[in-house]
């Protein structure tokens, strides 16, 4: 039996060594990459200057066209990420502040995301390779239920989120396989000709006083970032459109731009405008928030 227990101990030790070695190797790869995604682009960057930074979910990513801001002389990057919640938007902004980004205006898309304070696993996972290299990330995740496993068990985070930061992603990062995520200054135009689902029912969503939105407001205040929070358009066939009014009751400072682009021809699916709609919407945003400023 003693011989067997020694064998098991040796196997466990080998496993531990492998976990630590792999953890180091994967993390090293991610620490040296800044071309494949928005999180690593920020994490591995130094101080940058922006006139406008856009944050939010896919409804930011697909709706704000930096090219149109740039035409007005505003250096802009769209850091909206498909699937992101305010949990991740707040962390992105914290990382920018930690790297001393000079940002004049932050445009935050906060509408449907206001109703929950959960992390979005598919986006949150992208921060996890850096959890041991950033106090900001560590503290941001410290309230999560699986924090101890993610932080203290070597390689656990790469196993738990293998589809997002596991071997395949690590390999593609190591070989510098390009993505289109950073093209168009982060804007992802929806150009498909196929009509998507033009129905949506958001009656079940209930906006709340959101912890991470409060955090974002606080970070902007501390770093002198001008914060513009907006709600972006949805198609006409939505049940529960009063959601936006309810959100406005809790947060009157949020600009309700839900109805500034109308007509399903401007939508790729009910919650996402196509490129034409996005350009129309961006023009409205620029005219409303930047032209007046420039005139003044």
């Amino acid at each position: 039996m003693q011989k067997f227990l020694t064998l098991v101990a040796k196997i466990l030790l080998t496993l531990l060594v492998l976990l630590m070695a792999l953890d180091w190797a994967y993390t090293t790869v991610y620490l040296h990459s800044s071309h494949r995604g928005k999180v690593e682009k920020i994490f591995n960057s130094k101080a940058e200057n922006f006139d406008v930074v856009i944050l939010g979910s896919s409804r930011a990513n697909n709706h704000f066209v930096p090219e149109l801001f740039e035409k007005k002389g505003l250096k802009t990057f769209n850091y909206g990420m498909s699937g992101a919640h305010l949990f991740e938007a707040s962390l992105m902004l914290k990382l920018m502040a930690e790297r001393n980004y000079k940002i004049k205006t932050v445009i935050l898309e906060a509408d449907l995301g206001l109703c929950n304070e959960k992390e979005s696993e598919m986006i949150a996972a992208k921060f996890l390779p850096y959890i041991h290299h950033s106090e900001v990330i560590k503290n941001h995740f410290s309230g999560q239920a699986d924090f101890n496993e993610l932080y203290y068990i070597p390689f656990y985070r790469y196993i738990d989120f293998d589809a997002l930061i596991g071997f395949r992603e690590m390999y593609q990062t190591a070989t510098d396989k390009p993505t289109n995520i950073l093209d168009n200054q982060g804007y992802h135009p929806l150009t498909s000709n196929k009509p998507g689902n033009m129905k949506n029912d958001i009656r079940a969503l209930k906006p709340i006083r959101n912890k991470y939105y409060e955090e974002i407001k606080q970070i902007c205040k501390q770093n002198n970032y001008n914060l513009i929070t907006v709600m972006t358009p949805m198609c006409t066939n939505v049940k529960g459109l009063d959601y936006f009014e309810k959100a406005n009751k809790i947060y009157p400072e949020i600009y309700n731009l839900e109805n500034v682009v109308e007509g399903d021809q401007y939508f790729s699916s009910c919650g996402h405008m196509n490129d034409a709609g996005a350009r129309m919407f961006t023009e409205v945003v620029i005219n409303r928030f930047f032209e007046t400023k420039q005139k003044q």
């Binding site: 067997f4 196997i11 080998t14 792999l22 390689f155 293998d162």
Partner: protein, 477 residues
């Protein structure tokens, strides 16, 4: 509690330590402890099904004794049929009732008699097909006086509920497992080491091969109508490796962990994809089920004795019933039927027992024949797996039709955001490892075992798929 879960990784060492350090004094303490642990293990799925397991166990235990005790043939028969009816009744209600009710209603509707089926709102208890078959074989063996009934209820309960085999087999025989249970186990280092290696190799098969293949196979099968020929072929191949890795991986883990407790279970797989004909495939695939049907259905029906027509009938019965055992869906019946069709030529030509030895390849002409026989057997097996995997027979036919009509052979981007060919290298590496270890139970033991084990551990943690596909396919059967 899946074998590949973190909970089980905590559960198993605790059970092992308690078994050998606290409950190892006598055979009775060992068995009682394993029964308690097995019932706890089963309750983790759904505690309500414990009553079903207990009832099934007591029925077989009690009727087994009564059959043996009864001197009158009429009484023996009564107890025998009581047991059979109860066991098959459970299976029929929980697994097949809704299927038959629905099919009957459909049949009536098709001839213009409108009816709506009276369906039962029941969940299929995990492992019911496996422990019911344990009980059935036990009672049948007593009835035919092959074995004596087990008087110790704890020992019998362990035979039925032993946790490594409880939810997905292998389907044990009383003649094999009960004698092992009846003696006190002493710790054997070599056996335990072999068990650990087998568990590790089973995990490689499950999380590296099966679960990774599943992401590709699902992406192809779920979107088969838009897939080109190459993707459809690869989808079937990936599913073949998914189901093999999943089920044989589970069996390896079950056999391996059982060795840790000093009990040897029946071997369930013997490198089936290296078979040269379909008869050999069925001697190597899910061996415990194939041999169960052979001994308790095929041979009682007459087996290969009698006229050719009778033999053909027996082959079709055994394959169709075997298909139906897998699940209440016509696709499984079709899968069984197709395998019977594959088997038919070798039965008629009398060549079903020609490839009894493990396949060899050398640099000679005969090896070319062997190689192509293996390839051909694997190909027709993949074709049959399409019926097993598809949701309906119509979809299976559509899938096969599109292989021939969606004629492009280019790589395709799948919905799981990967290219259809990407996994081939890993599958090929797996095939080579299996080929080189086809005379052994697992590839880790032998020369350089430490290096091989380290590589397996590396594969498990770095190449395993963990985000999805944790369940074992055969748990649903």
């Amino acid at each position: 509690m899946f074998f590949n879960s973190l909970t089980f990784a905590i559960f198993l060492p605790i059970v092992f330590l308690l078994y050998w350090f606290v409950f190892s004094k006598t055979k009775s303490t060992q068995n009682a402890f394993l029964v308690v642990v097995s019932y706890y293990f089963y309750s983790c799925w759904d505690w309500r099904f414990l009553f079903l397991l207990l009832f099934s166990t007591l029925i077989c235990y009690f009727t087994g004794i009564q059959i043996e005790k009864s001197t009158q043939e009429r009484v023996r028969k009564l107890w025998f049929w009581t047991s059979l009816t109860a066991n098959i009744g459970f299976l029929a209600i929980f697994k097949y009732y809704n299927f038959f009710a629905f099919s009957f209603s459909e049949a009536l509707n098709s001839i213009g008699l409108h009816s709506s089926p009276l369906l039962l709102n029941v969940i299929l208890p995990v492992g019911i097909s496996f422990y019911t078959f344990h009980g059935l074989s036990y009672v049948i063996d007593i009835y035919y006086k092959r074995i004596q009934s087990e008087k110790n209820v704890v020992d019998y309960a362990l035979f039925v509920s032993y946790f490594p085999l409880l939810v997905a087999g292998p389907i044990e025989r009383a003649t094999h497992l009960l004698p092992e249970i009846k003696v006190k186990r002493t710790f054997n280092f070599e056996k335990a080491k072999e068990g650990v290696y087998q568990i590790i190799w089973g995990l490689v098969k499950k999380v590296v091969i099966a679960d990774t293949c599943a992401t590709y196979a699902n992406a192809v099968f779920d979107n088969y109508s838009s897939m080109n020929s190459l993707s459809l072929i690869l989808g079937a191949v990936y599913f073949a490796f998914q189901i093999y890795g999943d089920f044989s991986g589970y069996s390896d883990m079950a056999l391996g962990m059982s060795k840790l407790f000093g009990l040897d279970l029946l071997r369930n797989f013997n490198y089936p994809y290296f078979s040269r004909d379909i008869a050999e495939f069925w001697r190597r695939w899910h061996i415990s089920l194939s041999s169960w049907f052979r001994d308790y259905l095929y041979i009682p029906l007459g087996g290969s004795r009698g006229s050719k027509i009778k033999q053909v009938r027996n082959v079709f019965i055994i394959f169709v019933v075997s298909g139906f055992w897998h699940g209440a869906n016509w696709t499984f019946v079709a899968w069984g039927f197709i395998n019977a069709m594959y088997f038919l030529p070798s039965l008629l030509l009398g060549t079903n027992r020609t490839n009894m030895e493990t396949a060899e390849l050398h640099w000679d002409f005969n090896s070319i024949k062997v190689f192509f026989s293996i390839l051909a057997t694997f190909s027709i097996t993949c074709l049959a797996w399409i019926f097993f995997r598809a949701n309906t027979i119509q979809i299976a036919f559509d899938y096969i039709g599109k292989i021939f009509t969606n004629g492009t052979f280019a790589s395709q981007f799948l919905q799981n955001q990967r290219y259809s060919y990407e996994l081939l290298l890993l599958v090929l590496a797996f095939v080579l490892v299996e080929w080189n270890s086809r005379y052994k139970i697992e590839p880790i033991s032998g020369k350089y075992s430490w290096l091989k084990m380290t590589l397996c551990l590396l594969a498990i943690i770095a190449l395993g798929t963990y985000a999805d596909y944790k369940e074992f396919i055969y748990f649903q059967f």
